[in-house]
Structure formats: structure tokens, C-alpha cells
Symmetry: C2
Subunit: 365 residues, 2 copies
């Protein structure tokens, strides 16, 4: 099946378009990559202009009116669906937290190659779209299908890659059919913006962001596991011990301190430490906070979970006592019993780092 979407791309997006967008910290101008500022992570749903942007190649400019999603491979009925035809298959709205697999790469030693993400390649969005299952049911997945492959309209040659390739990733069939896996055409109540995959992107709750293929162009039902570059050469946990590299999939349990500001100054006295915590492996059941170094962990208060697939806000009441530079750490535990580790788990490409990370701030005298 040939994709019919217009694959016009331009060499670079203009960083200037984004430079004055509050809450976005640029990482690379071309293609535009940026992380959310920590302050922008305060709301339950990250405003679109502050939502982190990860693009591997020049950002496609696709004509929504001419757009057709191709569905092919081992299906009973190959399809080419317009956005209106997709909408007609039913819609669902979900709020999910999405984290770039390379978030907090800077904490790993030795520093892996790859974008030097600090802490903000994480955001939560509300997505509206067609459940992927509805589309696959319509096409009719054949017996023997093991994975569903998703191909974006973005393409290029990775530095060590095999040539000009599209961004492409697969999901196991059960994850593709799972409740919540969505073909999204709206983000936070508006049509999907171009940097976030317009006109259509996959949204895969609980998985790292690389699974949520942007500028989604083609879907293939396949009977052998996909072995493309972004499935077997990148987005893998490759260790230096010669063990078989494991694929990057589900988001590891993690937390972030949002307030007080890292490096900022607060007056002495009562203070509420606030943050978020998330896991792809289950709900957050505990967040602990340590003030200063050492082992004095205190239990934070968990705020109500607003979406099963999003993050959970937490708070700790603390009295800023001794003046000077102070340190804070947070440590989340999920319902599967996973706890954030103290030490970052190094891997060659720097994915999935969920280690506890201290921030410092100042208490004024």
C-alpha cells in the first residue's frame, strides 16, 4: 500500500516560532526540539505551547484535507481513511503523561550520545482521537499477526542509520488493541499542532514517547517482529556487558519536584513542596521526600488521581528552617512495587533514567 499523504517536508522549523513560547526550553533549532520548563509542569495538563517537543527529522507539513491514513499488511481489508472517516469510527478522549525515553539522559555517566535532555522531556496532554482498536477491527487483523507497525511521514538518515528511512515503530498486538491506544487528531481540545504530529499521531499510554508516532502515515499489520532502526538500533536498553539489548517500552516509575524552583530562593517558614509522579507499570502509591542529604525520607501527600494514565500530583508540608543552600529529593513507588533507584541505570543510548535526582534551592536568612 502506498501512503497518499502529502509528504512535503521543509528542512527546518523555525526556532523563532517557539522562542517566546512560555515554558519551553529549546534544545535544538532544526529540527525543533525542546523540553518543558519545570514550572510549566505545574498544571495537571500541560498547556500545548509548553508541551515538550521531540522530533527526529525535519517536521512534515501535511495537508489535513488530502490526508489519508493507510492501513495494510496482514489485514482482511486494506484501508485508506480520511480524517473524517476516522472520526466516524468513534472518538475517545484521554489524558496521558508522556515522557521522552531520553529524559534525564544528562544524569548518566558516562554521558551517552543523543540529545542532552535535562528533566523536562515530560508533559501531560489530553488527546482526542479514534481508538486504534476500532480501526484495526474495521480492517480485520489476520491470524498470525504479532505486531502493528506505525510509520510517520517524517524521514531522514540517522547518523549511523541505513539510509533515508521514515520514523517507524511497532507495538505488540495486545498493546495496539488495548484500551487507550489512540489515533489522536486533537491535543488539549484543539487540532493537533504540527510539532506534535499533525494531522494524526499515535498515542500510547504508559509507554515512553517514542511509541507515540507523530505524523502517522501508514499502519501495517505484520506477522514477524519489526526490526527497523528505531526498533532494534535505537530505543533499546543496550548495556556494555554483552547481554541482549532489551527494547524500551513502558515508562519507569519516576517523580519530579516542581516547587520550590531548582536554584531559586524561598523565605524561611512554612512551604509546600510540590511535584508529580508517574509510572507506566501501575498507579503511584507512595512518594517520599528527603530534605538535605542522608536518609530522612518523609511521606508526601498524594493528591487525587485525575486520570489513570496520567501523572499524580503530590505535596509535602515543610518548614524551611536553616538558611542557606538546601537539597530536596523525591522518590516514587508504584503499585507494582517499583521504586525509583538511587543510582541511574546506565545504558549505551541513555534511555529510561528514573533515578532519584536532587535539586537545590536557597532558604533566605
Amino acid at each position: 500500500m502506498t501512503a497518499t499523504a502529502t509528504r512535503a517536508t521543509h528542512a527546518s522549523t523555525q526556532a523563532a516560532d517557539h522562542a517566546d513560547q512560555a515554558g519551553l526550553v529549546p534544545l535544538k533549532p532544526a529540527p525543533f526540539n525542546a523540553e518543558s520548563s519545570v514550572a510549566a509542569l505545574e498544571p495537571d495538563v500541560t498547556p500545548t505551547p509548553s508541551f515538550y517537543v521531540r522530533s527526529n527529522f525535519a517536521v512534515p507539513s501535511l495537508d489535513a484535507a488530502a490526508f489519508r491514513l493507510g492501513i495494510g499488511g496482514a489485514v482482511r481489508q486494506a484501508l485508506e481513511l480520511t480524517l473524517d472517516e476516522l472520526r466516524a469510527l468513534g472518538s475517545q478522549t484521554i489524558t496521558t503523561v508522556m515522557e521522552c525515553a531520553g529524559n534525564n539522559r544528562l544524569q548518566l555517566a558516562p554521558l551517552p550520545s543523543g540529545e542532552p535532555w535535562h528533566v523536562g522531556a515530560i508533559s501531560a496532554g489530553t488527546w482526542t482521537g479514534t481508538p486504534l482498536r476500532a480501526v484495526l477491527d474495521r480492517a480485520g487483523v489476520q491470524d498470525g499477526v504479532v505486531e502493528i507497525l506505525f510509520e510517520g511521514a517524517d524521514h531522514g538518515k540517522p547518523k549511523d542509520g541505513p539510509g533515508d528511512i521514515p520514523f517507524a515503530r511497532s507495538l505488540p498486538l495486545d498493546k495496539a488493541l488495548a484500551e487507550g491506544t489512540l489515533l489522536a487528531y486533537e491535543m488539549n481540545g484543539e487540532p493537533l499542532p504540527r510539532d506534535h504530529g499533525a494531522p494524526l499521531r499515535l498515542v500510547v499510554p504508559s509507554w515512553y514517547g517514542m511509541a507515540s508516532v507523530k505524523w502517522l502515515n501508514r499502519i501495517h499489520a505484520i506477522t514477524e517482529p519489526f526490526t527497523g532502526y528505531y526498533q532494534r538500533n535505537r530505543y533499546i536498553y543496550e548495556l556494555s556487558d554483552g547481554s541482549q539489548a532489551q527494547p524500551v517500552t513502558t515508562m519507569r516509575v519516576k517523580s519530579i519536584i516542581i516547587s520550590p524552583d531548582e536554584g531559586g530562593t524561598v523565605p524561611p517558614g512554612p512551604l509546600t513542596v510540590r511535584g508529580k509522579a508517574w509510572s507506566g507499570h501501575g498507579e503511584i502509591v507512595r512518594v517520599e521526600v528527603a530534605v538535605d542529604g542522608g536518609d530522612d525520607w518523609r511521606e508526601a501527600r498524594l493528591l487525587p488521581q485525575t486520570s489513570a494514565t496520567s501523572w499524580r500530583a503530590w505535596e509535602l508540608d515543610w518548614t524551611a528552617d536553616a538558611a542557606g543552600r538546601r537539597a530536596l529529593r523525591s522518590r516514587a513507588t508504584d503499585s507494582a512495587g517499583n521504586v525509583q533507584p538511587d543510582d541511574p541505570r546506565w545504558n549505551k543510548y541513555g534511555y529510561g533514567n528514573n533515578a532519584v535526582r536532587p535539586i537545590t534551592f536557597n532558604v533566605s536568612a
Copy 2:
């Protein structure tokens, strides 16, 4: 022997005295603790107002005219020496680099308790004083002496300490007698400032700063190793594996990137990366720099060594090419073959961290 120095102390030094001092980043107002800003580390000798300050207790206010250094213990002739009498024993001027043993504690995981030093608890000073050997020769060290004990006029009760104790540390006899070990009354050509130990401090080249006892009050020649709090309970490498804790002594090989500024922005084009490197175990023989993550280490140019006991400046010419956030790391090797490790070597109190540490900065488009 009773110390005759005036031991008047005040409860806290005024942070306001220091707040506008260029190049000093306050860590704690009382007692005043501060690290040097990275930019202040550019000169070969750190200007006094930018020299890092580490004080354990309230800063003593000693009257230089009334000051007497007591020398006692296993010596043939106990002494009480005025500053003029010390000067009459001969003077020496040396430039040394001095690093707080807790510098870069923030990089250790889990975060140890102790002051949360970032990267700037390091400075180089030019010290003028009396060679310690001249004083010990005058007193006559008896046979059987194994260490020389140094006691400051500063005192207090450490949180887990045995009560009100002075800051006190010992040196092995050979280090005490070594060329360069100095009783300093001048820093950078001026009388020693109060925060740096006025009127007299010990300066121990090649060792971490805790050895260079400030407000030096008494010296004791001792025939058994000293077992005081700051010798056996702190300033030790205590691991969690139950092994015997080792004392913190010699500075480990290390380097710092001074330019470009961490977090700053540089224009595209030619750029000289600059920094310093030092080791207590020998001279610096190599500094390598890696641009971005991965393994592409490039050899930096070593500038002439200006003092055998100080740090060594290095440079790397580089062309800032791709715009965006970039990472830089430096890695020093000393003449004893020591190389900075990738991973911080954790210990309970967070001393001696000399791991490679990435900085990031931005190349403008």
C-alpha cells in the same frame, strides 16, 4: 600547654559582608560558607574575595597582637610563639590549589548529608608563612612521634559529635615536615582574612582543605595516631560494604571546565574551551575533552605549570557547529597514572568526588 590566643567567637558571621563579593556563591550564612563561582576560577590565583570559604563553627575573632601559637606534646621545648617570632623563623611563599573534600558532593547518589557543594569549593591561593618544619625543628620533635596535631580556635558541637570540641586534625610526621607545609599568615600578599583563618592557618599542599586548619591555635607532637572526631568520624571514606573507613588525605585527580559558562550561550564558530586540572598525586599530564555524549575524547593543550602545588590551565580549540544545547566533559590524568572516573565513587559522607561531570551550554543559531 594552654593556648593563650583570645578565643572570643561570635555566633555568626554576617552573610551581608559577603553577599556582594563578586565571584562567591553563598552556601550558608552562619557560619558563612561559600563556593567560588566558576568564572572566578579563571585566574591562576583566585582573588581573595572569590576564594571558597568552608567553616565548621562560628568564626573566631582573634587578636593578632595577643596571639600565641602553642607548640607542645612530645617536643623537647614547648613553645609559645608570637606572629613576629614565627616570622623570624624564616618565610616561604607558595601557590597551592585547595579543594574542599566535599566539593561536588551533589553528584553522589544517594546524596550524602553534609553541605551541598556544587563544583566551586576549589580555589588557588598564594600563601606566605613559616615552614612548619622550622617551627618543629625549633621545638625539637621527640623520638616516637608519629603525627603532628593541629587545633583551631573554632569550636562547637557537631550534630553527632561528642560535645563542644575544637576543629582538630593531624598530619603524619613526614607530611608535617615536608617542603611546602606552611603556617601561613598572608594570603595573596595581604594579611590572612578572618574567614580564611586569621591570624594563622596551616596550609597543606596536595591535601584536601580540611587538613589546612584555620585559626590555628595549638600544635601537639603526638606518639599515637589522633582519633578525634574530624579524624575518625568525619573526613573519612566510609563505604556501605563494612570495610574499614579510610582517611581523606590527598586530592584526587580532577578537572573543571571554566569556559564556556555552564548554561550560557555562545555564538557559532571558533571557541576555546578552557579549564583547570589538578591532582595531589602528581602533576597533570593529560586533559581530554569530549564534545557531546559518547566517546569522542580530544586532547587538550596543557598550559605551562606555574606552581608545582597548584592547578594547571588547559585549553581546547573547538568550532561550535550545530546549534542547540551541547554538552562538554573534561577528564584529567596525573603523572601517577590516575584518571578521573566516569562514575562518582560514593561514600557515606560524600568526600573526594572527582568524577567526570558534563556541563551543557547553548550554541546560538
